[in-house]
């Protein structure tokens, strides 16, 4: 079996894997990082979004072997070592931007990527930037509010 050399949440990983292994399966089953969800498994919903070399990707639509030499970051790595939540996580909590929570890891990883490219997005830009993420509970308004707040645009 081929060997994958990569970094996951700052740690170097070397693992034998089957070529058919998807990145999301490697993270969840291989690394035990079950924060990344599988919603549709057909590239539609964005529940599986992680960062590869700093950009958001759908990990159900990438082979683990395509991440050779890459830096992967998952939702588990956002909070500080002392458990302090990332500002985007705090904003999601404050604004009730989740109901069942299934889409939340992908929404948050997508929002963090969006804010690093555009630190002060307009509501329209937030909606455009989250087009690849579907919330079955349809809580979009609060998600947009949370991202606005995380970018410091709601005051208070």
């Amino acid at each position: 079996m081929p060997v994958l050399n990569t970094r996951v949440n700052g740690k170097t990983v070397q693992k034998e894997i089957k070529p058919t292994t998807l990145l999301v399966a490697f993270l969840r089953d291989g690394m035990g990082l079950t924060g990344t969800h599988v919603g549709c498994d057909t590239s539609q919903c964005g529940a599986c979004v992680v960062h590869v070399d700093g950009v958001a990707v759908k990990s159900c639509t990438m082979l683990a072997l395509q991440a050779e030499g890459a830096d992967i970051q998952t939702i588990e790595d956002l909070a500080g070592d002392d458990g302090t939540l990332h500002p985007v996580q705090q904003a999601f909590q404050k604004h009730h931007a989740l109901q069942c929570g299934f889409c939340t890891p992908g929404m948050i990883m997508a929002s963090v990527a969006l804010l690093s490219a555009n630190p002060r997005p307009s509501p329209a830009q937030i909606r455009h930037g989250l087009e690849g993420n579907i919330c079955r509970c349809t809580g979009y308004q609060n998600i947009v509010n949370a991202v606005l707040d995380a970018s410091g645009q709601l005051g208070g």
Binding site: K18, P19, V49, V57, K58, A110, G132
Partner: protein
Amino acid sequence: MYPFLYQRPTSLDDALKSFRSADDACYLAGGQTLLPVMKQRLAMPSDVIDLASIGELRGFTVAQDRLSIGAMTSHAVVAQAAEIKSCIPGLSHLAGTIGDPHVRNRGTLGGSIANNDPAADYPAALVALDAVIHTDRREIAAADFFKELFETALEGDELVVRVEFPLPQKSAYIKFPNPASRYAMVGVFAAVVSGAARLAATGARSCVFRLHQMEQALDKNFDAAALAGHSLSAEGLTVDMHASAEYRAHLIGVLARRAVDAANGRGSGS
């Protein structure tokens, strides 16, 4: 997915050698089409040849009169690079309308045109801009490259290396996206290349096509007003659950006028 052998060559030559020595090989770019197809077991290649480590396929260059973009360049790079935005604004705008940000981070120019989905966006730009596709063995004009539904002029093992675009005087793309898939229900790219008006439509037939009559009207006066009274027959246009042929014919007229407006600096689209 059916099992396969994964290969990651570092040169064009090695990629071609790997392809030829395998039973039934397939190139892998960003995987945004190929992996879903393999997951549905609609494809079962013996070997998957990942193009990610081949330097010749990456990056873009702007020369005096042309822009050259490597096959493995992502839609996100085309959408964001300031040089591309300034020399072909319509192309950069088009790349920013493909799918969603995550798809744009992985999907590539080469993969999109090699796949030739009838609702894909890039084919409209390549045909309207009179681009030339450079492969490992020859140059193919965009007009000859896109053949039919999911069919191109590429031979089995032929690799798209880069696409060269002559710099247009004007360019814009307007897309009416399917609200669920975000692929083009219809998209029209309008450009002025070497002084001539060129319009191409995607999403409306099995393959991209030019709007010759409208081009003639625009040659005299590249203004949306010149298109007044021009309509396209619905005959031969795609009918599916999303839209009738008549609706698509109507959209082409509306989007063509908006694309010309946008190319003239009025409204978004460039």
